[in-house]
């Protein structure tokens, strides 16, 4: 845990620089690694890089840590009632457990306090520059990176510092994905993306249409069922609504018991369908569409209450939206409904506006980089992305191991270059690999991973890197 490369804070004034970029000074940060973002993924990157002996400068555009889970942040997608979807053992960092005294599915405020404790316990804050936004990341000679920052909101001068490596941990749940509909501009009702939904009071007494059957869409529909005067829930397809508990235990834990026993997918699917039949029953009876896929083939929806409220008539399941009229919404089956408020829970798109898309092998700029293990990019051995995964389970375990792998790769570049070269070759050969078995192809699912398949792949990569 020594930090031979800790140079203190980057300060171009104090560090006379030998480098320059467009005639502007570039301060040389030596072996220090730059981390972009201080959400869960960024925090674990700082911790693991420090633990492996690297100096770290982290830039965070907000004034606090926690990313998506800090509801004070203007880009936070959490709403007052957000609880974890993944139970504790899947969600916590593998080397910093959540307290035993917490419930199976903690509330978002508990999660934020967990990150605060993580940051304090490992003394991470002193490595973070708050209120500082990264606006450009450019490759420099020798696999190094020029990182340009300025104060959030565009105030103050830009500063460029050169780093030995970069971890991008900017999150992917803040840039709303809005579908296009005919007539949407003429619609006179209120329209909102789920990212702006914060509090059930926003729904109270209104006629609400919730679009989208992701976990957020289902959560909001359940809240609308209790608060709104009327709630429609529009879904394009049929989904499996899994309860959060089966057999009195968190459902993900029961599922992983089968995974640990290496029960084959087909058998697990059969068991799962059978359990759902016993607990949730036949969804078409409730007027919900029949799922067009087997369980485990799309991101799971964990919601014990949706079907219950459909059964009470408090949520009206409806098909896809066909078009908008000024005072009505036309549905795919020709029906018209008259919501006052439409909430699009249609997800988010990953964005890396500080990086030339070609660096990521995304020359088309489609926002879909070609990476190995969703983290490593061919031809750029000192760049890693942390947290660009949509797991069927908690996310922080995945970010943790991604950053451990990156820290060890950086060590190998120094101590065992032949291992690092073999790793780089694997990145080139295997970029674009998927880790989710058979999953429905959809723009929403390209970075979806099955936690078991994914972590097994990371484990193999670590063992290959470290092999004696």
């Amino acid at each position: 845990m020594s930090t031979s490369t800790d140079h203190g804070r980057p300060d171009p004034e104090a560090t006379p620089s030998a480098l320059s970029r467009d005639d502007r000074p570039v301060s040389d940060r030596g072996d220090t690694v730059c981390v972009i973002g201080a959400g869960a993924s960024g925090l674990t990157a700082i911790k693991n890089l420090r633990e492996h002996g690297f100096g770290v400068d982290c830039y965070e555009r907000e004034t606090g840590i926690g990313g998506a889970w800090n509801w004070r942040h203007d880009r936070s997608p959490v709403y007052a009632s957000t609880h974890l979807l993944s139970s504790k053992p899947f969600t916590q960092f593998p080397d910093f457990p959540m307290p035993d005294s917490w419930p199976d599915y903690p509330h978002h405020s508990e999660l934020l306090s967990y990150f605060e404790r993580y940051a304090d316990h490992f003394d991470l804050r002193s490595h973070i520059w708050f209120g500082t936004e990264v606006i450009r990341v450019e490759p420099a000679a020798g696999d190094r990176w020029n990182v340009t920052t300025r104060s959030t909101g565009g105030y103050g001068p830009e500063r460029t510092s050169q780093y030995a490596a970069v971890v991008i941990a900017n999150g992917h749940n803040w840039s709303p994905k809005l579908p296009r509909y005919e007539g949407l501009e003429q619609f006179r009702g209120e329209i909102m993306h789920a990212s702006s939904y914060k509090d059930p009071a926003q729904l109270r007494g209104k006629r609400v249409l919730v679009v989208g059957a992701g976990n957020t869409g289902c959560d909001i529909a359940v809240e609308a069922a209790q608060q709104a005067s009327r709630c429609w829930h529009s879904t394009r397809r049929g989904y499996w609504y899994a309860p959060k508990y089966v057999l009195g235990r968190p459902a993900d834990q029961v599922n992983d018991t089968l995974l640990a026993l290496r029960v084959p997918l087909r058998v697990r699917q059969w068991l799962y369908h059978w359990t759902l039949r016993l607990t949730v029953g036949d969804l078409t009876r409730f007027g919900l569409p029949k799922p067009d896929h087997r369980v485990y083939e799309t991101h799971p929806i964990a919601n014990s209450q949706l079907v219950y409220y459909v059964g009470h008539g408090a949520i009206g399941p409806v098909p896809d939206v066909a078009r908008f009229h000024p005072y009505a919404v036309e549905l795919a089956d020709g029906r018209e409904i008259d919501p006052e408020l439409v909430i699009f829970a249609t997800g988010y798109l990953p964005r890396f506006e500080f990086l030339d898309a070609s660096v990521f092998g995304d020359s088309a700029g489609a926002g879909r980089p070609t990476l190995w293990l969703n983290a490593f990019t061919p031809g750029h051995p000192t760049l890693a992305v942390a947290g660009l995964v949509q797991p069927d389970s908690g996310m922080f375990t995945l970010s943790h191991w991604q950053t451990v792998l990156f820290a060890r790769l950086l060590q190998a570049r120094r101590d065992r270059p032949e291992r690092a070269a073999a790793f780089a070759q694997r990145v080139r050969d295997r970029a674009g690999e998927r880790y989710s078995g058979q999953v429905k192809e959809s723009s929403r699912h390209w970075f979806e991973v099955g936690h078991a398949d994914y972590l097994r792949a990371v484990e193999r990569a670590l063992h290959d890197l470290e092999g004696k």
Binding site: S2, E51, K88, P89, P97, F122, D256
Partner: protein, 270 residues
């Protein structure tokens, strides 16, 4: 040592059941930025074993000091079916609950628990005091020295350590008897784990490790002490003339001062 494991199916699907734990503490009057110490007692012992002398002494030298009782021990919740895994879980829970990254100090079989906890928590450093890592050699030695106290444990009964095993003759008889009377017992399954103790996974974050004990310890043979120290790439620090319970024996101050001196000198443990 086994390889680093990322796949932890059992931990995800069968997490250890929570249990109420006793934690005693002594903190320095002035916060000096020293790392907190977490003392983990061996089987049969509770946090009380450290509260006698070491907690206060560590605090007086500026180290925030905490001692815990594993489940089923001391003031913690009863847990007759506890396993080694549950004990390691207890240690990691308490360590992660401390305000800053902690140094883990395990005594006796508590040192084995600490070795397992190190694979789940990046400690700032670790100290293994008279470590009982189990195995048949340790059982053989215990059977020779204290057959009546040891034999029942092989069949799931309580392990009873005698005064002669735990303390030197220097400790006044009355004090020794008071301590022996406080001893409890570990879970039967955890005791069995000592025979075929599973290898701990590698420690997270490569913390510095100090091993210490006494050549006159009548529970841990010196060869076992050397074995554990070698495993961590060092030699044991020895305190002749002391019994197994170094923290309660007559000259208790010497080992704790050695530990604190080491922590002050060891750059990685800061």
């Amino acid at each position: 040592m086994s390889e680093l494991r990322i796949m932890r199916g059992r931990e995800w699907s069968r997490p250890v059941r929570p249990a109420r734990r006793e934690v005693l503490s002594a903190t320095p009057e002035l916060e000096e930025g020293r790392p907190p110490l977490l003392f983990v007692p061996g089987f049969g012992h509770g946090a009380w074993a450290f509260a006698e002398h070491w907690l206060g002494h560590a605090a007086s030298r500026g180290f925030p000091a905490y001692a815990m009782s594993l489940r089923g021990h001391g003031g913690s919740e009863p847990a007759p079916e506890a396993t080694l895994r549950a004990y390691a879980h207890d240690v990691v829970q308490v360590a992660a609950g401390l305000p800053r990254q902690a140094v883990l100090v395990g005594h006796g079989a508590g040192a084995l628990v600490v070795a397992h906890a190190l694979a789940r928590y990046p400690a700032r450093g670790a100290v293994l005091v008279a470590p009982v890592f189990g195995g048949w050699g340790v059982l053989g030695a215990a059977l020779r020295r204290n057959p009546a106290g040891t034999l029942p444990a092989v069949f799931g009964g309580p392990l009873r350590l005698s005064r002669g095993q735990l303390f030197s003759r220097e400790l006044p008889d009355e004090e020794a008897r008071r301590h022996v009377a406080r001893l409890g017992r570990a879970g039967r399954r955890a005791q069995w784990a000592l025979l075929g103790a599973p290898d701990a996974e590698p420690a997270v974050g490569a913390p510095p490790v100090l091993v210490l004990g006494s050549p006159d310890d009548r529970v841990v043979p010196t060869s076992a002490l050397t074995g554990v120290a070698r495993h961590y790439g060092s030699a044991p620090l020895l305190f002749p003339g002391m019994g197994h319970d170094l923290m309660l024996d007559a000259r208790w101050a010497e080992p704790i001062d050695a530990i604190l001196d080491w922590l002050e000198k060891e750059p990685a443990a800061h």
